[in-house]
């Protein structure tokens, strides 16, 4: 069983479109995250969410919005896609928020905006 699963694996879309990336974890973890990895492989936190509190990285444009229907899911919705949004997006989860616990990552969604 995949611990953190993301869909789709690849997403190619035109500028201006709205798209969503889905993430599910079956680990029973309390907290989920979205990270963006740029072309230089730098991973940057976008959101963390533990069903009580959403923390948004202030540098993330408000076109990006996380949506969590339940504790096991944290989807990422992106409005009005731009060329600069092209990157690999990783979902992750951890057992405890604000703790020294390791994160479990999904295998990523490569988004290409054309």
């Amino acid at each position: 069983d995949t611990a953190v699963s993301q869909t789709p694996k690849y997403l190619v879309t035109q500028m201006g479109n709205d798209k969503s990336i889905k993430c599910e974890q079956n680990l029973g973890h309390d907290t989920m995250y979205w990270y963006k990895q740029d072309s230089k492989k730098f991973l940057k936190i976008m959101f963390s969410y533990n069903n009580k509190e959403l923390i948004i990285n202030e540098t993330v444009p408000n076109r990006f919005s996380p949506k969590s229907p339940d504790k096991a899911h944290l989807n990422l919705h992106i409005n009005s896609l731009e060329l600069g949004d092209s990157a690999v997006y990783f979902c992750a989860s951890s057992q405890v928020w604000q703790g020294n616990y390791g994160y479990t990552f999904g295998s990523g969604t490569r988004l290409t905006v054309v």
Partner: protein
């Protein structure tokens, strides 16, 4: 803003050689974690170090956390082609006195040639 500097950025060595990867910061972290990422996959946790001066071993990999909890190193003995990958250090930072999210260094891309 808390930053983690990794060096070297790229490392290409022959099978059997030893190597060390460094992760440095001017900030104190409550813990540091090391991940390995392979192409097309998400980062996978190797180890978490929590106590200043702590040393952990994972087969041929030795991880050390600096006494001041501002830096860490990863030493690989007798590298093998299977060690090839992107190695990422990540720290659990402090924000306003509370622990925050995982902050990543920019990674070290290791290539071990047979």
């Amino acid at each position: 803003t808390q930053l983690l500097e990794q060096s070297p950025q790229f490392l290409s060595i022959q099978e059997g050689e030893n190597l060390t990867v460094y992760c440095n910061s001017s900030s104190v972290f409550s813990s540091l974690q090391w991940y390995r990422q392979e192409p097309g996959e998400g980062p996978v946790l190797l180890v978490t170090v929590v106590t200043g001066g702590e040393v952990k071993k994972l087969k041929r990999l030795t991880f050390q956390f600096g006494d001041a909890r501002k830096d860490s190193s990863l030493h690989i003995t007798a590298a093998q082609p299977g060690d090839t990958g992107l190695y990422l250090c990540a720290g659990v930072g402090y924000y306003g006195g509370s622990q925050g999210n995982l902050i990543f260094g920019k990674g070290t891309k290791l290539s071990v040639k047979p």
